[in-house]
C-alpha cells in the first residue's frame, strides 16, 4: 500500500512585522519597520496511508494550520517536499482541490443565502460529479443522518451544529481521497459532537476516505483516531498510535474523587498540597494525576482524606487529555 500523503523535511518560514507598543511605538512604526523571520513549521516528515484517520494535534500556534495549508496547496513550503495523492499541491492547486475536501469548524464554505440542496447542486457541477455518484452519495447521507430537514433550509438560518454537519457533508460530496477537518466540533453541544463523530467515522469506513483531523477536543481523538501526530512550535513531537503513547505514561494513574462543594476551589487547594500531581476539576469529579514511580495512589488518597470528606472515588488509567497535556508541557521523554 502506498502513501496518499507524503511529507518530507518540510519547513515553512514567515516574515512578520514586529510592532512596537503604545502610542509612541505606533508613531515610530509609521517611519521604520522591523521584520523578523518565524519558522512556523520546522523539518516535518510524515507519511499517511489511504483510509487512515490521523489526529493532528498541538497547542494554538503550533503550526497545524500552516501544515494543512501546505497540504491543500494554498501555501508553498520554504523547503522540503509534499506529495498529496501523487500531486505537488501548490503546483497543481486546482487539480489537488479535486481530490480533497476541507472543513473549517467555524467558517462555512457553503453559499450563505442558499438552501443546502442548492449548494450541493452547485458543488456537483463544480466538482463534475456524475449523476449516479451524486445520487449514491445523497442516499448514503440519508442513511447516516437525518438530512431532510436540512436540505431545504438556507445556511444562514442553520444553527452552528447544523452548519458544521452540512459543511462536512459538502466536503465529502465529491468523494475525495482526503478530507481535512479543522476543529469540526468546536463550540458544539455534547450530542451534536457525538453525531458528528459518528458521521465522520461512518464516512471514513464506507468510502475509505483519509481524514486529517485537527482538534483540541480529546473526545474527538478518542472517538476517531488510531494514530496521532503532535507538533509544537513547528517541530514534530510525536507520530504513532495513541495506545503506544499511553505506554510512555504507564506509571501514571488518575484518581478521581467526589467532594461536596465547589470543586474548582478544592482543586486549587489540592494543587497546593500536592505539588507533584496535576489536578483538574470538571462538573462531577476532581481528577488527580498520580505518577506511581514517585508516590502511590494510596498515599495520595490518605493525604486527601485527612482534609476532605470523600463521597465517591474512581481509579482510571491516564486519559488522552492528560497525555496530550503532559506532552505539551514536558515533551516526549
Amino acid at each position: 500500500m502506498s502513501a496518499i500523503i507524503e511529507i518530507k523535511h518540510v519547513t515553512k518560514e514567515f516574515k512578520v512585522l514586529n510592532r512596537r507598543e503604545g502610542l509612541k511605538g505606533s508613531i515610530r512604526d509609521l517611519f521604520s519597520r522591523d521584520y523578523k523571520t518565524v519558522r512556523a513549521v520546522d523539518d516535518i516528515s510524515m507519511s499517511i496511508e489511504q483510509g487512515e484517520i490521523v489526529g493532528y494535534l498541538g497547542p494554538n500556534g503550533a503550526g497545524k494550520s500552516t501544515t494543512i495549508k501546505m497540504m491543500t496547496g494554498v501555501l508553498e513550503p520554504t523547503s522540503g517536499e509534499i506529495l498529496v495523492g501523487g500531486n505537488v499541491p501548490y503546483r497543481n492547486r486546482t487539480k489537488n482541490a479535486q481530490e480533497i475536501g476541507v472543513v473549517f469548524g467555524q467558517r462555512t464554505q457553503l453559499w450563505w443565502a442558499l438552501p443546502l440542496i442548492e449548494s450541493f447542486r452547485i458543488l456537483k457541477d463544480i466538482y463534475q460529479i456524475s449523476d449516479a455518484d451524486y445520487d449514491e452519495m445523497l442516499k448514503l447521507y440519508q442513511s447516516l443522518v437525518d438530512i431532510e430537514p436540512l436540505l431545504h433550509k438556507p445556511v444562514r438560518q442553520m444553527s452552528l451544529g447544523q452548519r458544521t454537519l452540512s459543511d462536512i457533508l459538502a466536503a465529502f460530496l465529491h468523494n475525495p481521497k482526503i478530507v481535512f477537518l479543522d476543529e469540526p466540533t468546536i463550540g458544539l453541544d455534547v450530542s451534536m459532537k457525538a453525531k458528528i463523530r459518528t458521521l465522520i467515522h461512518a464516512l471514513n469506513q464506507q468510502k475509505h476516505t483519509t481524514v486529517i483531523l485537527t482538534t483540541h477536543d480529546m473526545g474527538d481523538v478518542d472517538a476517531l483516531c488510531q494514530r496521532i501526530v503532535i507538533i509544537d512550535k513547528g517541530k514534530m513531537l510525536y507520530d504513532n498510535d495513541i495506545s503506544h503513547l499511553k505506554q510512555f505514561f504507564g506509571s501514571y494513574r488518575t484518581l478521581k474523587i467526589r467532594i461536596k462543594g465547589d470543586l474548582k476551589q478544592y482543586a486549587e487547594e489540592i494543587t497546593e498540597k500536592l505539588p507533584r500531581c496535576s489536578v483538574s476539576a470538571d462538573d462531577e469529579w476532581i481528577s488527580v494525576l498520580v505518577d506511581e514511580s514517585q508516590t502511590t495512589v494510596m498515599q495520595v488518597l490518605s493525604e486527601l482524606q485527612k482534609d476532605y470528606k470523600i463521597r465517591d472515588m474512581q481509579l482510571e488509567e491516564i486519559s488522552t487529555e492528560e497525555v496530550i497535556k503532559k506532552i505539551y508541557e514536558e515533551g516526549v521523554k
Binding site: K69, K95, A97, R107, A113
Partner: protein
C-alpha cells in the same frame, strides 16, 4: 488535467445566479431600498449637472447635452462592474477575518469563484437610468441613428466596462497587501465620477496620467468620441477595446497574484 472551458464556467455562473436571485426575492424591502438608493445617487448626479449648467454655459467647449451624453455613457458602462463584480467590496473583510481561505479549496478558478458569489441586482436600476439619460442626450443632440452606430456603441460600452472592472479589481486587490484598503477602493470609485468630464480640461501631464496610468479617460471620454465627434476621432479611441482587454487582464493577474500570496499568511 481536464481544462475547464468557458461552457463549464457559464453553466456554474448561471446556476449560482438563478439561486441567488431566488433568495434575493425573499428580501424585497432590501431590494427596494437599495434600488431607491441607487436611483437617488443617479438623480443627485443629474441635479449637480443641472445646477452647474444653470450658471455656466459649457465646459471647455462641451455643452450640456454632450456632457449629459458622457454621463449616461459612464453610467451604462458601470453596470457590469456593479452587477458582476460587487463582491470586490467585501474582499477586504474576507481577507481581514481570514475567511478568504475558503475560496482556495475549490477546483475552479479562484477569481471566478469569488466573484460569482454575488450578483448585484441594483446595478440594473443604474442601467435603466443611464440608458434613459443616454437616449435623451442622443435625441437632443440629433445624432441620428444607424445600425453601425449601435454596434459601435455596444463595442465601446463594453470597452469602458472592462476598464472600470480592471480599475476596481486592482483597487480591491490592494487589500492583500494593506489592511485598510477601503480608502483605495473608495478613491477609485470617486475617480469614476470624474470619468464623465472631457479629458481635454486637463493639462498634458494629467491627460497622460488619466489615459495610461489611471485610465479613467477610457470610461466615457475616448469611447464616446466615436459617436459624439465622429469627424475627429483620435487613434486612442479606436484602440481602446484592446487597451480595455489589456487592462482587464493585468488587473486579473494582479488580483490572483495577491490572492495566492495572501492565503499563505495569517492563520
Amino acid at each position: 488535467m481536464t481544462q475547464k472551458g468557458l461552457r463549464f464556467y457559464l453553466r456554474i455562473y448561471g446556476k449560482i445566479l438563478a439561486q441567488d436571485l431566488k433568495s434575493k426575492m425573499s428580501y424585497r424591502a432590501d431590494f427596494i431600498i437599495s434600488t431607491i438608493g441607487m436611483i437617488c445617487t443617479n438623480i443627485a448626479g443629474f441635479i449637480s449637472f443641472w445646477i452647474l449648467f444653470s450658471r455656466f454655459p459649457s465646459i471647455n467647449g462641451w455643452g450640456y447635452y454632450e456632457i449629459l451624453f458622457l454621463y449616461g455613457f459612464s453610467l451604462v458602462s458601470l453596470t457590469p462592474v456593479q452587477c458582476f463584480f460587487d463582491n470586490n467590496w467585501s474582499l477586504r473583510q474576507y481577507v481581514y477575518s481570514g475567511d478568504f481561505i475558503k475560496y482556495c479549496f475549490r477546483p475552479i478558478n479562484l477569481f471566478f469563484y469569488f466573484q460569482s458569489e454575488v450578483f448585484d441586482v441594483k446595478g440594473l436600476g443604474q442601467l435603466a437610468f443611464g440608458l434613459g439619460t443616454l437616449i435623451y442626450a442622443w435625441v437632443k443632440l440629433g445624432l441620428g441613428f444607424s445600425v453601425l452606430m449601435i454596434l459601435k456603441m455596444i463595442v465601446f460600452l463594453l470597452t469602458a466596462s472592462l476598464i472600470m472592472i480592471a480599475l476596481q479589481n486592482a483597487a480591491a486587490a490592494t487589500c492583500f497587501w494593506i489592511q485598510n484598503s477601503f480608502y483605495v477602493l473608495d478613491l477609485v470609485m470617486r475617480f469614476k465620477d470624474y470619468a464623465k468630464y472631457p479629458i481635454t480640461i486637463f493639462n498634458s501631464v494629467f491627460r497622460f496620467i488619466f489615459t495610461f496610468v489611471i485610465p479613467i479617460a477610457f470610461i466615457a471620454y475616448y469611447p464616446s468620441l466615436v459617436i459624439l465627434r465622429p469627424d475627429a476621432v483620435p487613434v486612442l479611441s479606436w484602440i481602446s477595446p484592446v487597451i480595455g482587454l489589456v487592462f482587464f487582464w493585468l488587473s486579473y493577474r494582479f488580483w490572483m497574484f495577491g490572492a495566492l500570496k495572501y492565503s499563505g499568511t495569517g492563520s
